[in-house]
């Protein structure tokens, strides 16, 4: 008998688990299919979650009711806040995560989520009828029927790993790859391309001489990724920093003919921001050294990750290269670095809801869309899951604008501009970064998550508590302090003493002051949560800059809110230049603002479009 589900998610990586969870939580009977259940939420590359822009994504996923933050907090080994020397818009939480624990906890979460069924299997075909999704079929011939499918196959489509002249048709870390699904996607009319990425060697901790390296400890007193996390998180593991040197570079340069990136073995497009060490040495020949961070892969393993040493050089060259680095002279390599090539979908095939434009009910998320990174995948998985669920309910898609979330920027970039290399999120991609901070992710998104049905009572109560605390703090900001009351705190940070008295609000607005200054002056503020105080302090201090951004947002928003009907025949719109007609026809933007962002569409074209819209809507 054929099994029926509301929705099926193909792939249980970081995108797939979020999509399946969002579908199940919003009441859809969901099947999550994975090539291997040992690979659920497997961290195939670096052992960390968060970092610049990526930390923001995790916070946003959490605020909407996603699960990456919760599980990351439970599997954390060390936590740091990057960019503390800079403003709050770029403060970025990053955690070293126990890979195996993360996998186990996420698998358990999938197993215990109501409406969610996990099954191992190799999906070879997405079944469609009249341009609509009907179900999927696996390699054994078993068919499952459903109303919506989310593609989340990560880097597993026809993947091939390469180390020197060794090459093998396999997924990452020896997991099975998907061999037939690409052909099926091509048959469905999708534009498929080939990307590449890579990973560094793993080293045995006991063979490393840490005395020669700089130690990096975690920071104390940091917030967590998830609002739901109440227990303290683990923060006792350390990382180490060392550098490449001239010897390392010489070894690489004299063996470039054996490097798959340079001898033509690899044809896929790699990411510029995540270059292999051979690429770095070639492209930045004037640099005398590059950083290498040695990070734990987990609490129960002796393996360490060598961040900065991503490579696909032959095993013997990798060996020499590693041993040339200070502290790694006797390091034992447990796994060699490799490059991996894989098939992925041109994201221009997608609309802003992450739906495949040409097939109703088919959604796509994660590295399969040409992005890179666990966090980027999770963010897309969440949105694809939400929209697949809304599609089943016959509801309008849920879209986040560029001024609402880094998630909005990520998806808009992918589906509007496309990408020619694996896309990584960066805060600089967001025009309105000061508004898209991690300290206000919940303020921006939790109400939306509530409306979507993803934010449940526990999270919503906590959110409301924070909101009411913020109001209370603001009411208390009128409190005034005499000069002698603030003297100690001001002396400490080098701020000049006020004439007469100063209000709490004025204290927070001082250049060098932050929430700690206020807490030192008036301990009654300790009654409030640090997150609530941080939020108030940041909003006050950056008021002027926030207003500048707000003005720009307001101007842009009107264009952003103007939806374009899905059935406009751009090719016949009078007055549009030919190039614009074709670009618009290819991209099929969802809003007027998106149309304006497409390269090749000029402001004059947008005006013509505005008038055309008016014409067809009256």
């Amino acid at each position: 008998m054929t099994k029926r589900y509301d929705a099926i998610v193909i792939g249980a990586g970081h995108a797939g688990v979020e999509a399946a969870h969002a579908l199940a939580v919003t009441g859809k009977s969901t099947l999550l299919v994975s090539l291997s259940l040992e690979a659920v939420a497997f961290m195939a590359c670096n052992p960390n979650i968060g970092g610049t822009a990526k930390g923001h994504l995790v916070k946003e996923v959490d605020a909407l009711g996603g699960i990456m933050g919760e599980i990351a907090d439970k599997a954390t080994l060390q936590t740091r806040m990057l960019n503390l020397g800079n403003g709050p818009a770029v403060h970025s939480l990053r955690a070293q995560v126990d890979k195996n624990l993360y996998h186990r906890l996420m698998k358990e979460r999938m197993e215990t989520t109501p409406n969610l069924t996990m099954v191992e299997g190799d999906v070879v075909e997405v079944l469609t009828e009249n341009g609509e999704v009907k179900g999927v079929k696996n390699a054994m011939g078993e068919e499952y029927l459903c109303k919506a499918v989310v593609l989340a196959m990560g880097v597993y489509l026809n993947s091939r790993i390469i180390t020197g002249n060794y090459s093998r048709a396999t997924g990452p870390a020896g997991f099975m790859r998907s061999e037939s699904l690409t052909d099926n996607l091509i048959a469905l009319g999708l534009d498929i391309r080939r990307f590449k990425t890579g990973t560094p060697p793993r080293l045995l901790s006991s063979s490393i001489d840490y005395d020669k390296m700089e130690i990096q400890k975690g920071d104390e007193g940091l917030p967590t990724f998830s609002m739901l996390t109440e227990d303290g998180i683990r923060n006792d593991k350390v990382c180490y920093l060392t550098y490449t040197n001239k010897d390392t570079h010489d070894i690489i340069l004299s063996n470039l003919d054996k490097a798959p990136m340079y001898n033509g073995q690899i044809t896929g497009t790699g990411p510029r921001y995540c270059p292999s060490i051979e690429t770095k040495v070639v492209r930045f020949a004037d640099k005398e050294r590059h950083q290498i961070f040695i990070e734990p892969e987990g609490a129960d393993t002796d393996e360490m990750y060598a961040q900065g040493l991503s490579t696909s050089l032959p095993y013997d060259i990798q060996e020499k290269m590693v041993h040339s680095v200070v502290g790694l002279e006797n390091a034992v390599i447990t796994r060699y670095g490799y490059a991996i090539e894989y098939d992925c979908i041109n994201p221009l095939e997608l609309n802003a809801a992450l739906g495949i434009k040409r097939i109703k009910g088919l959604y796509s998320a994660g590295q399969i869309n040409g992005s890179s990174g666990y966090e980027e995948a999770a963010a897309q998985g969440l949105i694809a899951g939400i929209n697949a669920s809304r599609y089943i309910d016959g509801k309008e898609p849920f879209l986040l604008r560029r001024d609402e979330a880094h998630i909005g920027v990520l998806i808009d970039d992918l589906v509007t501009k496309g990408t020619e290399e694996p896309y990584r999120m960066m805060t600089s991609r967001a025009e309105y970064r000061l508004h898209l901070r991690q300290d206000n992710a919940d303020m921006r998104l939790t109400e939306k998550g509530r409306e979507l049905g993803l934010v449940k009572e526990d999270r919503y109560t906590k959110y409301q508590e924070k909101v009411s605390q913020i109001e209370e703090i603001r009411a208390n900001l009128k409190k005034r302090y005499k000069a002698e009351e603030v003297k100690d705190a001001f002396d400490k940070i080098g701020e000049s003493l006020p004439q007469g008295s100063i209000s709490a609000e004025e204290v927070l607005k001082r250049g060098r002051a932050d929430k700690h200054t206020l807490l030192a002056i008036d301990s009654s503020f300790n009654d409030f949560s640090p997150e609530a105080i941080s939020y108030v302090a940041v909003e006050l201090k950056y008021e002027g800059y926030l207003k500048k951004e707000e003005q720009a947002i307001k101007e842009a928003r009107r264009m952003e809110e103007k939806r374009l009907p899905a059935d406009i025949d751009y090719l016949s719109v009078e007055g549009l230049r030919l190039e614009a007609r074709q670009k618009l026809n290819d991209h099929r933007p969802m809003t007027l603002a998106q149309a304006a962002r497409i390269s090749g569409v000029t402001p004059a074209d947008v005006n013509v479009l505005i008038l055309h819209l008016r014409k067809i809507q009256v």
Partner: protein, 441 residues
């Protein structure tokens, strides 16, 4: 709050009967009240013409004003229309004044954009307008193309590159806090200072070129009965002013104009300035003072048949902030030669041609017209906006504001310049980061 935008609603011709300046947005009425007044205008009724007076920094004019209340207006926002006399100088002057008071020059098609976004355009209007707007945008394209090819755009491109590099320098420090080994901030300050200098030059030359193209004004000033009116007639080659030997003949400000090097020069003859109890003359003197203040150049006329009085010295000293040509008139009966730039005989016309040459030289007309410059209020406004933002960024770096804030100003400056070409700032910055810095895992 949304911007209030302003633009001329009638074609820009040198001389037309009427020029209409239109302003749309929440602050339209508030702003217009600062330049326009009429009986009953305090409690203005919508859709009614008010005849009143426009007072700008440089001139006054009689005008009609009409107010359309949101949402019952073309754009769906508050709209104010000023119907002035049709000279280009008047229309541009009014717009300049409104911009100084807080309005923003409208981008091409922006009124229509707002009208559409506010749901104000119906089918018939939209069809009719489609053709009109297309025509406008093609003219725009041509204009932009000419600008793109010229020296100005090269200059702008250079400034944009500086801002792009500055912004990439900051972004790389923000996105790669752990991996970046070099200091990218010190060079950024230098870049911003360079950009500031370039923007300032461009802004000033553009402004001065625009002023020159749209006309300059010179005022004749001096004590009574020194021959200012004769000199005006001689310059204009016309009996524009009444000339008598009676001191204080000229009461009001008289204006006439002539073309000089292709530029319209307005000559203002003013009442001779002296202590007077005559109420009419007093008003004339007040007006003279205002006209002189607004003029680009003052011809300070003295009578060499009379001894240089303390009054004359004081009057001359009171113009020390103005650009001045000292004209020693009545050279034919000069009894008391004095320090001057030129000696003329207004009655016979002797040396008046030399005076005119001196005027051209002094106003730098040729050079101002040839300097690379932007031509449109909108472009000059954009450069002004960029300049302001760069200044703010430099201030930010100097007081150690955090970089995520400083970069807001750098991007604002870049966007202002990019609005002349229509590029996307974020993507460019990302491109720049990758081409310049070694970052990544």
């Amino acid at each position: 709050m949304k911007d209030t935008i302003v633009a001329t609603a009638t074609p820009q011709v040198e001389k037309g009967a009427i020029g209409i300046v239109r302003m749309s947005g929440e602050r339209a009425l508030e702003i217009v009240r600062k330049v326009f007044d009429a009986q009953g205008f305090e409690s203005v009724e919508p859709n009614k013409m008010y005849l009143g007076r426009i007072t700008t920094k440089n001139f006054n004019d009689r005008a009609f004003c009409m107010y359309c209340k949101a949402p019952k207006s073309y754009t769906g926002e508050d709209i104010v229309e000023l119907h002035t006399h049709g000279g280009k100088i008047i229309v541009q002057g009014v717009i300049r004044e409104l911009v100084a008071l807080g309005a923003r020059p409208a981008a091409p098609g922006e009124f229509t954009k707002r009208a559409y976004l506010n749901g104000k355009l119906n089918l018939a209007e939209a069809e009719g307008l489609a053709d009109m707007i297309n025509a406008q945008s093609e003219a725009e394209v041509n204009q932009a193309y000419r600008l793109m090819k010229g020296e100005v755009s090269k200059g702008i491109e250079q400034i944009k590159t500086m801002l792009l590099t500055a912004s990439a320098n900051i972004e790389v420090a923000l996105d790669y806090p752990e991996e970046l080994l070099e200091d990218t901030i010190s060079p950024t300050l230098a870049l911003l200072n360079n950009a500031k200098t370039e923007l300032k030059n461009l802004y000033e030359t553009s402004k001065s070129a625009t002023v020159a193209r749209e006309g300059v004004s010179i005022a004749l000033a001096g004590l009574t009965n020194v021959g200012k009116s004769s000199l005006m007639n001689a310059i204009l080659k016309d009996e524009r002013a009444i000339v008598t030997d009676i001191a204080g003949t000229t009461r009001d400000v008289l204006a006439g104009s002539f073309m000089l090097d292709g530029v319209n020069v307005e000559v203002l003859d003013t009442a001779g300035i002296r202590d007077s109890d005559d109420p009419v003359e007093k008003i004339g003197i007040e007006r003279a003072t205002r006209a002189i203040e607004g003029a680009d150049l003052v011809l300070f006329v003295s009578d060499t048949s009379e001894e240089e009085s303390q009054e004359e010295k004081d009057l001359y000293a009171s113009f020390k902030n103005k650009k001045i040509i000292r004209v020693a008139n009545k050279g034919d009966i000069a009894k008391y030669p004095r320090e001057c730039d030129i000696i003329t005989e207004a009655k016979s016309g002797k040396n008046v041609d030399k005076l005119v040459a001196l005027i051209s030289e002094s106003l730098d007309l040729n050079k101002r017209l040839q300097a690379p410059a932007l031509t449109r209020e909108r472009q000059i406004f954009a450069v002004g906006e960029a300049l302001e933002a760069v200044n703010s960024a430099i201030d930010g770096l100097n007081i150690n504001a955090t970089l995520d804030c400083v970069v807001v100003d750098v991007k604002t400056a870049y966007s202002a310049l990019a609005s002349l070409t229509g590029e996307d700032v974020a993507e460019n910055v990302v491109e720049e980061i990758f081409s310049k810095f070694c970052v990544g895992k």
